[in-house]
């Protein structure tokens, strides 16, 4: 039996909360473990509701990203992670359908934050925003961008030092500060709001 198969869902969720390198693996294992089942269930539901199944993969991914946010923010009560994921995806689909066709549902089974609501306009806006942000981040250089992202993903300074081949944890901390300063100054200078 594969070692990954022995890791329980609760353990994986704890690893995701922990962040860093261990979280990266847990995110992949959890996604691989349930993705097909979730995709199958969500696709079935979309067909039943006469929706377009072409976007199901994206919907399942979006739902997983929301799930990760909820897990990290402790906004998740222990239970079936698969059902939770399906619930989020169904909520996203219903909200999308509501926007597309102005359908009113009585009592949504899964409440989705306003920021998670999907609309074509929002997607276009998000894409444009992403392009802009990528340009902004590239201004600080690839190395800085990488260090800042690793820090935000919960990597320890020791892990960052190892991954970025920096001499020490102290050096990693110092580099991270310099990179952040560069980015903050840039945001301040350009007066950017997200």
């Amino acid at each position: 039996m594969n070692a990954e198969q022995n890791i329980g869902d609760s353990q994986l969720l704890n690893q995701i909360r922990q962040g860093g390198n261990v979280a990266e693996g847990a995110i992949e294992i959890l996604y691989t473990r349930y993705r097909n089942e979730v995709l199958f269930n969500v696709e079935k539901m979309i067909r039943y509701r006469r929706g377009r199944t072409e976007d199901t993969r994206d919907l399942v991914q979006d739902a997983y990203i929301i799930l990760l946010r909820k897990v990290r923010s402790e906004n998740y009560e222990e239970g079936s992670i698969r059902n939770f994921w399906i619930g989020i995806a169904k909520g996203l689909f219903k909200n999308k359908q509501k926007k597309d066709y102005r359908v009113t549902f009585v009592g949504d089974p899964m409440k989705i934050d306003e920021e998670d609501l999907w609309t074509p306009e929002l997607e276009m806006e998000q894409n444009q925003r992403m392009e802009f942000l990528e340009k902004l981040l590239s201004e600080v250089g690839d190395k800085c961008k990488m260090i800042l992202k690793l820090a935000m993903r919960g990597y320890s300074m020791k892990e960052i030092a190892g991954k970025m081949e920096l001499a020490s944890e102290g050096m990693a901390r110092k580099t991270k500060y310099q990179c952040k300063k560069k980015l903050v100054e840039l945001v301040k200078e350009l007066n950017i709001e997200i």
Partner: protein
């Protein structure tokens, strides 16, 4: 000035790592120093940009996993299709076996359900050349021969009369005639009379056709 100290303070503030006192003190600092507020907002925006970029990377990673999973699923699907051919053959083999088994059961059942007429004809005692011996027109041997001929010609009433005639004399052919008489009644369709006569033979342990009578009675019992 975005010093390292301010950077650490903002980081700790935004991630909820400050104690209540430290938080209150920092919030006062934000209110009093507009420069700190500007850096706090810029720091928040930078974090939001990084978070979005991380999600963007994650989406790419998930798409790669999707591709792998879809490829595996497709491969399994092809395997299943191959297996489907095998399954059809297996199903056909099982169906054919069942059909053959059923045909055999029907065959043996039909065989066991032999018509009384057939059963009687099959068990009829025919004299061989050695038992036949010298013959005259009304000798028991000739009467037995004539009765068998009538039996084979489905003239069961004649056969019955002839076997009864054989039994009237005290001769060696009494027992085969008695047995054949019972069979003649059976062939004629008089199962009740045939059974009575066969039962009489079956009860007689000295009768040379006792075992045959028992066997036929069992068959008749099964067919009822």
């Amino acid at each position: 000035m975005y010093t390292e100290q301010l950077h650490d303070k903002i980081d700790a503030y935004l991630t909820g790592k400050l104690s209540a006192d430290e938080r209150a003190s920092f919030e006062q600092m934000i209110r009093e120093d507009p420069g700190v507020k500007v850096y706090l907002e810029a720091h928040k925006t930078a974090d939001a940009a990084l978070a979005l970029s991380i999600e963007h990377d994650l989406r790419k990673k998930l798409s790669r996993i999707d591709e792998d999973l879809d490829r595996i699923r497709d491969q399994q699907g092809t395997g299943k299709k191959r297996n489907k051919g095998y399954q059809i053959w297996r199903f056909a083999a099982v169906a054919a076996s069942l059909f053959i088994a059923l045909a055999l059961v029907i065959h043996f059942w039909t065989m066991s359900q032999v018509a009384p007429e057939m059963l009687a004809t099959k068990n009829l005692v025919i004299l061989d050349d050695q038992t036949r011996g010298e013959q005259t027109a009304d000798s028991p041997f000739q009467l037995m021969e004539n009765a068998a001929t009538a039996f084979r010609a489905n003239k069961y009433a004649n056969a019955i009369a002839l076997y009864q005639a054989v039994m009237e004399g005290d001769n060696l052919l009494y027992e085969p005639a008695e047995f054949n008489l019972a069979l003649a009644f059976l062939a004629k369709g008089d199962a009740s009379e045939a059974s009575n006569r066969l039962e009489a033979i079956a009860r007689n342990s000295d009768h040379q056709y006792q075992q045959e009578a028992i066997r036929i009675l069992k068959k008749l019992e099964k067919q009822r």
